[in-house]
């Protein structure tokens, strides 16, 4: 096999590894953005955070929200908002840091935090 082709195939392998690792990082972030309280489960996202902030601004204290199963869950909106707000940034900041590290890794062993011998 020519050197050029070998190099191209190596790069293809690097690309496949990188893409899989990126996809994994994405699902890990989604998983960490799951929050359960009072017998219900929520996905923390921008609309939920914004909606809760609006409810607090309106002076609401206890509200009923629909969880991922569409079940009604009563929550103390201020406590709930604080929790989801801090979790959201904790998770997305970690996502950013790990994503940047991945983006700058130009070799398979660097993507996986291994040394060149694969250890």
């Amino acid at each position: 096999m020519s050197t050029k082709l070998t190099k191209a195939l190596e790069f293809s392998n690097y690309r496949a590894t990188l893409n899989n690792q990126k996809a994994q990082l994405k699902v890990k972030t989604q998983s960490l953005l799951s929050y359960s309280i009072n017998g219900g489960s929520f996905t923390i996202d921008v609309p939920l955070i914004t909606f809760c902030k609006q409810l607090i601004d309106e002076g609401q204290t206890e509200v009923v929200l629909l969880d991922i199963y569409k079940n009604p869950i009563k929550v103390d909106v201020e406590m709930f908002y604080e929790e989801i707000h801090s979790r959201y940034f904790e998770v997305t900041n970690e996502y950013y840091a790990e994503y940047e590290k991945l983006r700058q890794s130009r070799k398979v062993h660097k993507i996986l935090d291994l040394n060149e011998e694969g250890k």
Binding site: N13, A16, T17, N19, N20, Q21, A23, Q24, V27, K28, Q30, S31, S34, Y35, S36, G39, G40, S41, I68, Y69, N71, I73, V108, I111, L112, D113, L114, G118, K119
Partner: protein, 299 residues
């Protein structure tokens, strides 16, 4: 075991065959459960031979540290002989071995807890995600949605019992409370297991192997009022690798580097680092190979 009030715990089933040391996997996973879920109530259902092998290779002290309730049952010899399946240690090695999964349907009766997480020994607990289940309004939850950790690999045969059949639920992780509904659910699972030939004919699952995924799916269909996907899913996705994959190394706490077989390219792999998410590792030999290292991180 004395029942605590409002207790929460994990239950696993571990019956060795001539090649796979399921009990060892249960000990590894029990230590992971303690570390990541902070749960000390761990029940392992096993048989005298598997326990004796565990005591010989791991020592009683470590077993006691990992598992606080061991339930010993006798194997149904006829079931053991009949229920044979192909196990793979990557595409390079296949073996037909006994697959003893006969008593998983008894989990409800055996569990001493008010809230139970029933998990496979090869579903490695590498995060605290399952803590989202405790105190849930749903009394029974299990997944039909799964995600292969080689993201571009697709296997449509794993979504349904047959191409035109009901949705397949994974019995890999089941959360349940002690309620009348859940008791009835497990009674239906037992009924399906007892009449497997009949239900295989009705629901047309492939092959002759009895799998709990099938009986739990059928029970979910029946107990959901014969409606598809009627039982709610866990608040987490089920991530899976396959028996054609391998583990390169356990490189840290809750971190595993895996060889993933490329789609349509047998025995050609890419590597991936899997960290801080629970994972169903189908290649049991692979887990056993890194079990010492996994235990070192959590001991």
């Amino acid at each position: 075991m004395k029942k605590e009030s409002n207790s929460r715990g994990v239950i696993m089933f571990a019956h060795n065959n001539t090649e796979i040391d399921y009990f060892r996997l249960a000990v590894v996973n029990a230590l992971l459960v303690q570390k990541n879920l902070g749960i000390k109530n761990i029940t392992v259902v096993t048989d005298p031979h598997s326990l004796a092998q565990g005591e010989k290779t791991l020592g009683k002290r470590l077993i006691k540290k990992a598992i606080n309730n061991i339930v010993i049952t006798e194997k149904d010899k006829r079931f053991k002989e009949l229920n044979q399946r192909v196990y793979k240690d990557t595409s390079h090695k296949t073996e037909t071995l006994s697959f003893y999964n006969a008593n998983r349907c008894d989990a409800y009766d055996i569990s001493p807890y008010d809230e139970t997480l029933l998990i496979d020994v090869d579903y490695l607990i590498l995060s605290d995600t399952l803590n989202n289940c405790w105190g849930h309004n749903n009394e029974l939850m299990m997944n039909w949605k799964y995600q292969d950790i080689m993201f571009e690999r697709k296997d449509p045969t794993l979504s349904r019992l047959n191409p035109l059949g009901i949705t397949m639920y994974w019995a890999t992780v089941v959360y349940f409370k002690k309620t009348e509904y859940v008791n009835n659910f497990f009674n239906v699972v037992k009924h399906v297991k007892k009449n497997a030939v009949y239900y295989r004919d009705i629901y047309k699952w492939p092959g002759t192997l009895y799998r709990n995924d099938y009986s739990f799916s059928i029970a979910a269909h029946m107990m959901g009022g014969f409606i598809d996907k009627a039982i709610p899913q866990l608040p987490t996705t089920l991530y899976k690798s396959f028996d054609t994959d391998d583990i390169h190394s356990a490189d840290g706490l809750n971190s595993i580097i895996m060889y993933l077989e490329k789609p349509d390219e047998p025995a050609n792999f890419i590597l991936t680092k899997w960290k801080d998410m629970d994972l169903h590792v189908m290649n049991k030999w692979a887990i056993n190979r890194v079990s010492d290292k996994l235990m070192d991180y959590v001991k």
